[in-house]
């Protein structure tokens, strides 16, 4: 556990010093929102219909920026080898990187949420904790598989292109379940209505946490 926290804290410290991931993700997320708002001038009905989808698309697209950065900073001076030389299981490296990516993306999402209230009149505070829980669950699955693919894509020449090409198709179940859960929560539906989507989200979180931790060793092998 100490190794996981060491890696997690190192990544957070780097982010606190540079703020590169947070600022780029936040700016990109806000740009998507603003551009969408001006391009379509959505009516109140349209806003209600598209808010859940736009919420997740904003988070996924801005999340890609942070995930790309996560392993590119390890490639500077090949610092990742410094970690691989340590007497720790390589799955611990995965969990450390995953934890840091999760915190950075989740904080960015929290900072983006008020703008959904501002631009789309999203009734955020009526179901705040429920929506926050769903966002956290979706982010866990997305970041977990994203951390794995980020490690794989870093070794390729076109890593900025490769990561979304690998990550978006496999994240589709999370996107679908996340959108459906948020849509039903905003519509005031009972939990029974979206329980199967919620179960799908949890199931994919478990799969996306277990499988990457098992194959991470091969993803970073040269």
């Amino acid at each position: 556990m100490k190794s996981i926290f060491a890696i997690l804290w190192k990544d957070l410290l780097l982010e606190l010093k540079t703020k590169e991931s947070f600022l780029s993700m936040l700016t990109f997320g806000l740009l998507i929102l603003v551009l969408f708002n001006f391009a379509f001038e959505p009516t109140p009905e349209m806003k209600r219909a598209i808010t859940p989808g736009l919420l997740w698309i904003t988070f996924l697209f801005s999340g890609i920026l942070g995930l790309n950065r996560s392993f590119s900073l390890e490639k500077e001076n090949m610092a990742i080898h410094g970690m691989l030389l340590a007497p720790i299981d390589r799955s611990l490296v995965f969990f450390g990187k995953f934890g840091a990516n999760l915190i950075i993306l989740f904080v960015t999402e929290l900072c983006t949420l008020p703008f959904f209230l501002l631009f789309l009149n999203m009734p955020l505070f009526e179901h705040f904790w429920l929506i926050l829980g769903i966002i956290l669950l979706g982010t866990i699955g997305f970041v977990s598989v994203g951390t794995l693919f980020s490690a794989m894509a870093t070794s390729t020449k076109m890593r900025e292109v490769m990561l979304p090409l690998l990550l978006f198709p496999i994240s589709t179940p999370i996107l679908l379940a996340g959108v459906a859960c948020v849509r039903d929560i905003l519509a005031g539906e009972a939990f029974a209505e979206y329980r199967h989507w919620f179960s799908l989200l949890v199931a994919f979180d478990v799969i996306f946490l277990v499988v990457p931790s098992l194959v991470f060793e091969y993803a970073i092998e040269e």
């Binding site: 540079t18 900073l73 001076n77 610092a79 410094g82 340590a86 007497p87």
Partner: protein, 237 residues
Amino acid sequence: MIVSLQAHHLEKSFQNRPVIRDISFVLHPGEFLVISGGNGAGKTTLLRLLAKLVKPDAGTISIDGQDIWEESDAVRYTLGFLSHQIYLYDDLNAVENLRFTARLFGMEEYHSRITEVLQQLHLYHRQYDPVKTYSRGMQQRLALGRAILHDPDILILDEPFTGLDEAGVEILDTLVRDHQRQNKSAIIVSHNLRAGYDLADTLYILGKGTIAFRGEKTQVSFEEYHSAYRGILESET
């Protein structure tokens, strides 16, 4: 703790091009092995195999009889590796970089050790400056600090003199001699034949992925070593 390392019939290819071919040797406790050779001879790949950064296609590497790929990761405690690259984070300062390494290696009381290493490397006065503000030589010294922080039994140094000024070479020399006095071992790759010869107990020259020359320093003069090196380089071109 006295540690020996054994490499047994190592083979490694990249994209079907053999880089390491049937290399076997034993590094005894307290022995300093210096490896030289031309560009592309396989020196760096051999060190990366020994440091467990790259897996061999065939053959085994064992430390005190324990296969480094079969046994637990604990075997890495015994190794300290300095590469061409510094393996440090530019935006972190020296203390933060070394603290991160110390935590990964499970060191408990690392504050005094970090201070000691920074003083040995003459970097104590710059300990809170980001690594990106260091000169190449200072970065190389800090990278050496990262490699020796956990006091390994076997040092693996790839071109340790790169980027060092005269004072830096002296600091490195002092650290390596200290390591030798503790009856610990080292494998050093160096293009600087004279500096390598002075440090060595055993001398290898790699050519085309194999050990083309082996000699004990007590039995090989520098001139003979230099001549063998030139001969192997000429045979490759």
